[in-house]
Assembly symmetry: C2
Homo-oligomer: 193 residues x 2
């Protein structure tokens, strides 16, 4: 079932055109040629890259994650998440991660470490999500939120997040991805052992 | 920073209208009232729910995941993933998971266990992704693919997936989410210990 080159799986894009645009993403119809030489049209979501930061802090009760609770307009519910957001123009990944952490939580990292880079959904999205670990946090005292952002900051024991991920309010799947990369980083080579 | 009711974070949807439609999703403009009583418009992606299945199989070299390698049109690359896909009309979550597993890999599960249910991206998507563990796999011998699907089946040692998640070809972030839920299921109460 294996084939090292995997050429029999590869499609070639032949043309593309934008079919919709809004402030946070645009849609593109992309015409691609299959391994069997047939042309099909797919709809793809284009947008800027995102950063997600796993901020770890020492508390009297042990290590905690700095998390943010906010309303999410897609799923219409409150979600408890790692800080993160969209890259601004010209911004590097680590820079975006540190800025989002600072704006949403008022913590600034002394140390920021890349955990990985993935596609939030490679079937329909072309952008990437960049995951970081933030340590040596310094508290600056004030969030810096947009005027349509309402964000509560909460320190959650690490074990709680591991146990509750996948149940409300831990419903954002990309926070599960962040947790998997954090686990792998902490427990290489095998997080299950 | 905590408030048990969290009412100061909640928005209320006032109206919605569809602004785009394609075979796999539609777009909606949703008008919502903020905690400070201001109305803002957000764009949301509506679509059917998805299932992702973590299939575990015993091999001569130990436990492995049954994974699928396929071209992804959003990120334009090959991706090695857990099987999964979109619910069909009238289908339950476990039923969709078992069907996708069977069609993509030719394995059918004796046992299917729900690991969790999340939002693939609650900021911009309204649908849910349902995660399952599949065990006691029986090999049926033939995939049942759509005519635009090209899927290689690969048995990958569990440790390899944990170590490589977040690097190519393990680039699908929702597979990281699946891994986090699988880890939590196997190692309750604390997967890091």
């Amino acid at each position: 079932m294996n084939n090292k080159s995997h050429g029999h799986l590869v499609w070639k894009e032949e043309s593309r055109r934008e079919v919709f645009k809004c402030p946070i993403f645009s849609l593109r119809e992309t015409s691609s040629r299959s391994p069997d030489n047939e042309v099909r049209v797919f709809t793809v979501i284009d947008g800027p890259d995102w950063a997600i930061v796993v901020p770890v802090i020492e508390t009297d009760q042990g290590q905690a994650f700095v998390m943010v609770r906010q309303w999410r307009h897609g799923s219409r519910e409150l979600s408890l998440e790692f800080p993160g957001g969209v890259f601004e123009a010209g911004e590097g990944a680590a820079e975006a991660a540190a800025r989002e952490l600072r704006e949403e939580t008022a913590y600034t990292p002394g140390k920021i470490i890349k955990l990985g880079e993935m596609s939030p959904n490679p079937a329909i999205m072309s952008n990437r999500v960049h995951f970081f670990l933030a340590e040596e946090l310094e508290y600056l005292g004030n969030q810096d939120l947009d005027d349509d952002e309402y964000v509560d900051v909460e320190l959650v024991p690490i074990e709680t997040v591991f146990q509750k991920m996948g149940t409300p309010p831990y419903i954002h799947a990309l926070m599960g991805s962040a947790l998997a990369l954090y686990t792998a980083y902490r427990k290489k080579p095998n997080p299950l052992v």
